[in-house]
Amino acid sequence: MALDEIQIGGLGASRKRVEDARFIRGKGNYIDDFKLPGMLHMETLRAPIAHARITSLDTSKAWMTPGVHLVVTGEMAAQHNLAWMPTLSYDTQAVLVTDKVRFQGQEIACVVADDPYIAKDACEAITVEYDPLPPIVNPQQALAPGAPIIRDDKAGQTNNICYTWEVGDKENTERVFADPNLQIVSQDIYYPRTHACPIECNAIISDYNSATGKLTIYLTTQAPHIIRTAVALVAELPEHMIRVIAPDLGGGFGNKVPVYPSYVIAILASILLTRPVKWIEDKTGNLISSSFARDIYFHCDAAIRKDGKIQAVRIHADTDNGGFFSDAQPTKFKIGLFHSIFGCYDIPYGYMTAQGHYTNKAPGGVAYRCSFRITESMLFQERFMQTCAYEIGMDQAEFRRVNFVREFPHRTTFGFLLDSGDYDKCLDLGLEKIDYYGFLERQKQARSQGRLLGIGISTMSEPLGAGNSREYDIIGIKMFDSAELRVHPSGKAVLKIGSKTQGQGHETTFAQIVTHELGIPADDILVQHGDTDNTPFGMGTYASRSTPTAGAATAMVSRKVRAKAKKLAAHLLEVSEEDVEWELGRFYVRSAPNRGVTIQDCAFAAYTNMPDGLEPGLENNAYYDPPNMTWPFDVYITTVEVDPDTGEWDVLKFIGVDDCGVRINPMIVEAQLHGGLAEAFAMAYHQMITFDSQGNCIGANYMDYMIPTAWETPHFELYEVVTPSPHHPIGCKGIGECGCVGGPAAFVNAVVDAIAHLGVRNIDMPCLSSRVWEAMHYKHDVPGTPPLPGT
């Protein structure tokens, strides 16, 4: 009899997490928990102003502080050829300032001392004099005639534009827009800066062993293998002499993909001092200097037929990239995968232009819980769909339905290949669960009594799981992933993967894939990750890519192992391989099903009783290059009540319907959605990190950048639809980011819907009660764009 897959923790089991055992006992291993013999501590001094030349820098008092071992300035970094470093977008970024400060919080100097308290004291003992320059805090100022050139370090840079890009069919799009029978709808929306801010900040311990020449880096990183390659390039050390260990991560959300300047200096310091150097970033440092997300301005026009069919879209996006262009994104796409916009809608023509701008803000564009700027595109898409529905006088659910893609495969307006989905089914389920038509009635009644109810819908399909390697790479490294599986004589196994968990539960779920393929109970499989000396090369975990890539590699390597086990089974059963059949956990003789051997029997035989000519052992590896992205589809619907006197709003009910294909561990999938939806709610509700006209970061700590607690966060009610991915070996699609990507529009749409009868079409996020109040009382849209000088 075949094994009960759920019972042994296979595909579809809501298996409890193995990671929990250490975390609930306080035995996790985060970077700050490591103490190496002789370890020193580093602190970073940051610039207090946004744009200024440094006229003098005096570190003498810092050097004299007892317990200080090293003070590194830009000048000293330059002597080691480390004043500048490459970014993931082929730009350069200052490691420590040598010429001028380009954003508030930029790294000026680092101090290494016996303990962090001393290092902080010594940072305070450094005196810096600045000659201020006019700060530029948004693209409008960056483009203004006579604006100072922020990147005057770059030869040939004569303005503040960091890139331009276009995609689509300009000619045909313009032709459609010229058709007088079509209604044109337009909208401007701003997606404000946000910050991923995992609770654990960035952190490193660099340990250079002068005897062996080996550099070991303990780093809170989502992508240890990419970091090793980057360090090899910058430090000019060979890769086999660098080991990156990423232990437990206290969250990541995209914030822990880049290389940050303080990492470079910690590595340099440990090489110069030949002692381990630890740097733990503080929260303010994290919030003001590490990679931001979003900060993008969107303009869209749509040409719509009377029956609601969109015939063409025309889009322009301006991005505020900060002082250095440091987005982690596929090389070919200057604005990430933003052009996946309108993917789930069948729109014949589209044309998009995008322009990036340098400003005096921290480098931005990190893919915060999303695949390379998809969050931005989906917010704009779904906000705009609602506006279009209002303008042409159609029900917002119906309007989406009229435009849905129904036949697969489908090539989207901007060139992506959608391969699967059942959008109507998801939408129907969502509408039923929120009692859509009943709510519309109640909304009407409530309005007549002066109460403001609103309902917001967001539907989207996003490409998750980069690559394939033909189209996707980061600084030339192709996007694939890997797995290595070793089955021991006892039949228990170790799986090593190229991706890296930050809380997603890889140690639990990746074992379940092996269980599904081999019938080895999940509890008998140890999953290892996050150590470059000990795992195969992989691109890491972001862009919801672990299951689509490393998960696929895990299924493929399991199949390779099974193929070899079959040979062993034939040998043990004394039949030819063709006569052997497989069922979960067991091979048997086709003509005599009772005669069989377990996978554990085969594993034992691989080391004790192999047939002549067969290599001993039972292990293999697989590199998986997906043929396409995976395309989950998600429907988020929420109802809200807005207080007509104060503009405050409460979520009444939230429904999510997600189709992420086959679910490996439903419990974990739901929890990933909860997390993403909470972040979506946060951005829509009150979480705000902005800049004043001088470039001061407002939101530099958790008091000002308020991430919501259990008290504000609503409950999320979730449902599933399953359309397996046609190309993923076990039918899975990415999911980790869907809530964060699709969620924000649902909340904003609901708030706008509550007051749309007053003519309001847009309130930029966050929908603070003051903004909602302004929109209601003055009956106009409320933009959230950053202030101009003098305001």
Partner: protein, 170 residues
């Protein structure tokens, strides 16, 4: 040179004596002096609650207490929940209901929940959400944390065990 002070703090029922700088935060005393790294440091503004410990039974944010202020007092950290062989109801609840992802907020979250359940063993969802509103979690969206606390309450009711495990909080 900074002056040092002698302190004796009872941590998880064991007295710890040390010479410390008066400016040393309790969270650093626990982590660096006592070697108990389960208590995490997450922010600079007493906001995140990762560092929550029980101070004479009351949950406090140990990043905002000086080590010297704990002299003569009793501290319970996450390492003091349950016993080596058994989990406390709160620890078990977090595991059973998938109340944690990256685990960074978890010790603080569990300490707050432990003190709360000892005071209110049969809470509503609203009471749980309010009680935890001094603790941030960036991963879970709180849905399963609320469930975990409910699970623990039920376990306490059926087993007669206190939130912290066999030994009641003093």
């Amino acid at each position: 040179m900074p002056e040092f002070r002698n302190v004796v703090v009872t941590v998880n029922e064991e007295p710890r004596e040390a010479e410390i700088e008066p400016r040393l935060l309790l969270v650093h005393f626990l982590r660096e002096v006592c070697g108990l790294t389960g208590t995490h440091f997450g922010c600079d503004t007493t906001s995140c609650g990762c560092c929550t410990v029980l101070f004479d039974g009351v949950p406090v944010k140990s990043c905002t207490v000086l080590g010297v202020q704990a002299d003569g007092h009793e501290i319970i950290t996450v390492e003091g929940l349950g016993s080596p062989s058994e989990l406390s109801p709160v620890q078990e609840g977090f595991h059973e209901e998938h109340g944690l992802q990256c685990g960074f907020c978890t010790p603080g979250m569990m300490m707050t929940a432990t003190a709360f359940l000892d005071e209110n063993p049969n809470p509503t969802e609203e009471e749980i959400r309010w009680a935890l509103s001094g603790n941030n979690c960036r991963c879970t969206g709180y849905v399963n944390i609320v469930k975990a606390v409910k699970w623990a309450a039920k376990k306490m009711a059926t087993s007669g065990v206190s939130a912290r495990g066999a030994a009641p909080i003093r």
